[in-house]
Subunit: 252 residues, 2 copies
């Protein structure tokens, strides 16, 4: 932990990669990494006194609005790794929180940028955070050398289309669909052979609307020049938009 | 950790329940509890020198064969809880590992029994563990006061039937379907209103055959006198059999 004026501006959580959160390529699965990013963000927000407990006093809640992850490679099974997080910026409505991912030997292997919006639990509208003065002194000037997400567009001419109905195990404490479940549905557009040959070197997602229990969605994807663009649609509404960039795995 | 003659016969892992692994009722989701049971089993086996690394030297692997969990209630969001594990018995082919789950104030809130079979990675047939002498001294005589699973039968006249095709995010490091994914599919036979009124007080599952990427399975369930029996079928093969017992939640 890095401390300035008594404020813990940077927070690190160390992990050991057991078999359970691994993908078929025996590395940390991307949805499991996102779940840990959410976990570490939650832990740091709690330490800073701007977590769930503080916000719920005002009937507010942090909601993950967008995330971009870039990885040189993923931690392998039975390796140690760590996530370090810090706040880059904030305003009345959202906070921009970054992550550095280090692998074995403490070498940097990736970064993530996340945007968190505070919403009112009752109205589901953006909340006003100006009452939480402590947010103003938590930002760190540590650099995060990956690009923010550019504007993402709906998928116009889908090449891969799948249907899905959300079930109870897809629903989180907030009664809407778990953020990591959307990410799984988007990765599930790919087949096993593709992911044996390529890994996801950059993953972008923007959450636009909430889906709920029993919602029937369409997951549609199209290959662009350098990325696979995906969209989860519920009738005429976009639930989320994503782009995945791939890198060929080294030959064994 | 409880130590006898230098052997760590009991191992405890403490957790704090953040929002991410919670179900819509704001308590530890059963599939997340199973994932932690697997995690804690793995950690203890590694400490005892009978984990993945040791078995893979002989081209063997631990596979979860059956699990039964009984809970008085589940840990609630933002509560502390712990899992303590110990080996009850073992023979040449399998090991019987139990768990005690404690909630806030260190009060016992549940137990689990698991059976782990060692299989050969190449032949997928049961392995012979008699070469691992250290297994012989690891058993603890701590009691586990819940019943073992009785024989489970295939579902003869299904009342709830759903289809599912396994995708990449359902596949684990071992290239077959993740154990917790089967459990999610079985719980997903229920709707949100049912789980708002009742919680799963006893969950039994026997894994009989492995399913793989792209396998198209049928999940079928029928209510018996006191439990919901479920089966996941792939053509004419049973993948797994399960029974769930429910308890009415206390009125708020």
């Amino acid at each position: 932990m890095s401390e300035t004026d008594g404020i813990i501006k940077e927070y690190t959580h160390r992990y050991f990669l057991t078999a359970a959160p691994c993908n078929p390529q025996k590395e940390l699965a991307l949805p499991a990494l996102v779940q840990q990013i959410i976990e570490v963000a939650t832990e740091h927000a709690d330490i800073l006194g701007v977590g769930y407990t503080r916000l719920s006093k005002d009937h507010n809640l942090w909601v993950l609005s967008r995330i971009v992850i870039e990885m040189d490679h993923y931690p392998h099974m039975h390796e140690h790794y760590s996530l370090t997080t810090w706040i880059e910026g904030y305003n009345r409505h959202f906070s921009e929180r970054n992550f550095e991912i280090r692998g074995e030997d403490d070498k940097v292997i990736g970064y993530a940028r996340t945007i968190w919006v505070a919403i009112n639990i009752d109205t589901r509208r953006p909340a006003d955070l100006s009452g939480i003065a402590s947010l103003a002194v938590t930002a760190s000037d540590r650099p995060c050398p990956i690009d923010r997400i550019q504007k993402l567009r709906p998928v116009a001419e889908p090449q891969i289309v799948n249907e899905y109905v959300f079930r109870v195990c897809d629903i989180d404490f907030n009664r809407h669909v778990n953020s990591t479940r959307y990410i799984e549905l988007i990765i599930d557009q790919l087949d096993l052979a593709t992911l044996d040959s390529y890994f996801i070197s950059r993953f972008e997602i923007i959450f636009q609307n909430e889906a709920h229990f029993n919602d029937h969605v369409t997951v549609q994807s199209a290959f662009g020049e350098e990325a696979l663009a995906s969209e989860i649609r519920l009738d005429d509404r976009t639930i989320c938009l994503s782009r995945m960039f791939f890198t060929k795995r080294p030959d064994n």
